[in-house]
């Protein structure tokens, strides 16, 4: 077979699988084959996939924790500032700093901020919104949200070599292999 010249504007090469198990298998082999820049696409969270890919991170939880902390402090602070410092009023003979009364709102503030932390954090780390992405150029990729499982080795990868990658993917027995336009 004649070697094919790599298209200059190539995002990567994508293999399509039918089952999650195959994909997990493929992912771990891709990893052991020394590829760094590759990603998998699944219609639902496939458990064990990220482990196979060797991805580990806990950015989101930390963000949530910090946001929650900020939220709690912010609202408790607000209440104390208002009812003790800015306009202390004798309300039903209660002490100005009647902190037990401030707990509920403090708690709600914590939850609110944390929730936003989780939501926005998730999107931000995922680089969303990204309505455009090269992988969408592959027609079959439309099934990635329905019933097909994809593995894409990106051209950014240091040892990305067109036909090598092709052969490697072949060895994973995908349903189909397609180039992904950048």
């Amino acid at each position: 077979m004649a070697p094919i010249e790599t298209a200059p504007k190539l995002y990567g090469m994508m293999a399509e699988f039918e089952t999650a198990e195959q994909l997990i298998e493929a992912a771990s082999r891709t990893r052991s084959a020394g590829y760094k820049k590759f990603d998998c696409y699944t219609p639902f969270p496939v458990h064990g996939l990220t482990e196979a890919m060797g991805v580990e991170e806990a950015k989101v939880p930390w963000t949530v924790f910090v946001c929650g902390l900020i939220g709690a402090m912010a609202l408790f602070g607000l209440q104390v500032y208002i009812s003790v410092i800015d306009y202390p009023l004798n309300v039903g003979g209660r002490d100005f700093l009647s902190w037990p009364y401030f707990i509920p709102i403090t708690f709600e503030g914590m939850v609110l901020f944390a929730a936003f932390g989780a939501f926005i954090g998730m999107l931000a780390y995922n680089g969303l919104p990204a309505p455009y992405h090269p992988v969408f150029n592959v027609p079959q990729f439309a099934r990635a949200s329905t019933d097909r499982f994809f593995l894409c080795i990106e051209s950014k990868d240091p040892n990305f070599q067109h036909d090598r990658v092709y052969e490697f993917l072949q060895s994973l027995n995908p349903v189909r292999i397609s180039e992904v336009e950048a």
Binding site: L89, P129, Y132, F136
Partner: protein
Amino acid sequence: MPQVFKRHHNTVARATIVGGLLALVGLVLAGSNITRSPWMTRAGEPLDQPVPFSHKHHYAELGIDCRYCHWSVTKQAHAGVPSTELCMTCHSQVWTNSPLLQPVRDSYNNNAPLVWNKVNDLPEFVYFNHSAHVNKGISCATCHQGIEKMHLTAKSQPFSMWWCLDCHRNPEKHIRPSEEVFNMYYQTPRNPEEMKAMLDKYQIPYDPNNIPRNQLELGRLLVKHYNIHKEQLSDCSICHR
């Protein structure tokens, strides 16, 4: 079939989100500032009056005391708008045929009131008492600042609650010897000598070892002297009934 979104749409999307958040913050800030602005409070806008009465002329140029016309200010809640009678005490002698004063003369002759436009207006549920202020060293100038420079009268302060509270919470910033209340040109003495001189002049007891050096210190002295109970001044019942 090509995908519907192009690469630049990513940027657009992110820009929109960031922009939206910023806009939100901006809105809140703008809102809270606009309400305080003269545009809202109408501070500094003269209203038209039946007679173009000039405080500048009468106070600054002729040197008529505030109390000549607003005679009830030291005794009553209301400073009072002078009756036509009062105007005529002078204007039966001077400017007797100035066309500008025609309404005044008519009012006097037909015993019909002059209808002025209210410049310094408070909501109905706010009970302001002039006498309580002027007798305790709060000057006309504090609320009607610059009236002595006005040809046409406009309110110079927002007269909003936070503005009132600002002084009610720390009167030291504005209080002065009650003898100086009607003096629009009063300046806080800048050096100890002047300060001492003034305190002596008005027999205000003070500790000679530490003579107040600035308005704040003078203020504290006077607040005590006039037996003003600060913490009470921001009680709701002080202004609302």
